[in-house]
């Protein structure tokens, strides 16, 4: 097994995750849904995400959940099950999935919090199952060998050469 800190996703994994996120977004009548790793990496998203600056959003959501977890421990709680931000026009619902991922649901004026909470609970189980499967999968080998196994220092140099 590879270390739990790594996540490798293939086409079929992403399709399953995207299907879940889209269904959640629709059924919860939310504006957008993001699945984020607890270290702050965006895994997948659904809904109106074009206008969102996803990288910092994912990073700050992970920080917020991490801070909530640390606060919970200070108060003798195992965890706080969700974090909610209530703005004038937008609201954010953040929740932890099985300690390994974060579900961010962006609510607009048409969304009902109770409905979001209900659907998040339902879909969290499904997403957790997928993530558990991914983490248990043996080391993946891409068809014909991974192109990443051929990365050289020159490849990295070239990245910076353009800057």
């Amino acid at each position: 097994m590879r270390p739990i800190t790594d996540l490798v996703i293939y086409e079929e994994d992403l399709s399953r995750i995207n299907a879940c996120l889209s269904a959640l977004q629709r059924k919860a009548r939310s504006a957008a849904v993001l699945l984020i790793d607890t270290s702050g990496q965006l895994i997948a998203s659904a809904g109106e995400t074009d206008a969102l600056d996803a990288a910092p959003l994912a990073s700050l959501a992970a920080a917020s959940i991490a801070a909530a977890g640390a606060l919970a421990q200070l108060l003798g709680e195992k965890e706080f099950s969700f974090v909610f931000y209530d703005g004038e026009r937008k609201r954010l619902h953040l929740s932890l999935i099985g300690g390994r991922a974060i579900l961010l649901v962006l609510l607009d004026q048409n969304s009902a919090v109770a409905l979001v909470r209900l659907q998040v609970k339902k879909f969290s189980r499904e997403i957790e199952e997928i993530l558990t499967e991914l983490s248990r999968r043996p080391d993946p080998v891409a068809e014909g060998g991974s192109p990443l196994s051929k990365i050289t220092d020159d490849d990295v140099e070239n990245l910076f050469g353009k800057g």
Binding site: T5, L7, S59, A67, A70, V156, L159, F160, G163
Partner: protein, 195 residues
């Protein structure tokens, strides 16, 4: 954590700049932000106090180009250096793929560097990351100051394993990209071993 998305052909890596208070972690990120093409960077997010000391972290996403057909993203973070932000430092190390330890070269900061390095090792271990195995690069910053400790002494105190190291004056941009490039290379080498 490295996140490899074969479906979208993307590699995402998390790099953390660690070091004692006022050693120049944020200055490194600010210089990178200033110099990288607008299309290759996202917003620089700084969660700082009114006096511009880092409160939680700085965050800079970089998308520098393609490697072997994979869009390669580096997410750069700094930790707050001040001693009392220990809990925040620990959280930010979660899932790190590589660390740049920024040491302050001034004589008066020798002890702070040693303490910060020990603190980093402990926090990495707490996050389930082996501090002897994670890609790590050392940057000796503020080399322009008159009270800078000679490099061989700093090496003895902070780099007994002779990991890649760089002299820097981050405020002038000296050594900043050399350090970033070095940690990117070590992280990519590590990634290769896993694929």
């Amino acid at each position: 954590m490295s996140f490899i998305n074969y479906a979208a052909r993307e590699i995402n890596c998390k790099l953390v700049y660690y070091g004692p208070g006022l050693c120049g972690k944020t200055t490194n990120l600010q210089h990178i932000y200033k110099k990288v093409d607008p299309g290759a960077k996202g917003k620089l997010i700084s969660l700082a106090t009114e006096s511009e000391r880092t409160l939680f972290f700085d965050f800079l996403p970089l998308e520098l180009g393609m490697i072997r057909g994979f869009k390669t993203r580096f997410h750069l973070y700094t930790v707050p250096g001040q001693i009392f932000y220990e809990a925040s430092r620990k959280l930010i190390l979660k899932g790190a793929d590589g660390v740049v330890f920024v040491a302050d070269s001034q004589l008066a900061r020798v002890e702070a560097n040693i303490q910060s390095l020990a603190d980093m090792r402990q926090h990495l271990a707490d996050q389930g990351i082996d501090p002897d195995k994670i890609p790590l690069v050392i940057q000796y910053n503020k080399r322009d100051l008159p009270n800078a400790v000679p490099i061989d002494e700093m090496q003895k105190a902070l780099n007994p394993r002779n990991l890649p190291w760089f002299e820097a004056v981050a405020s002038q941009g000296i050594g900043v990209f050399e350090t970033l490039k070095a940690i990117a290379k070590v992280v990519m080498q590590e990634l290769q071993k896993k694929t």
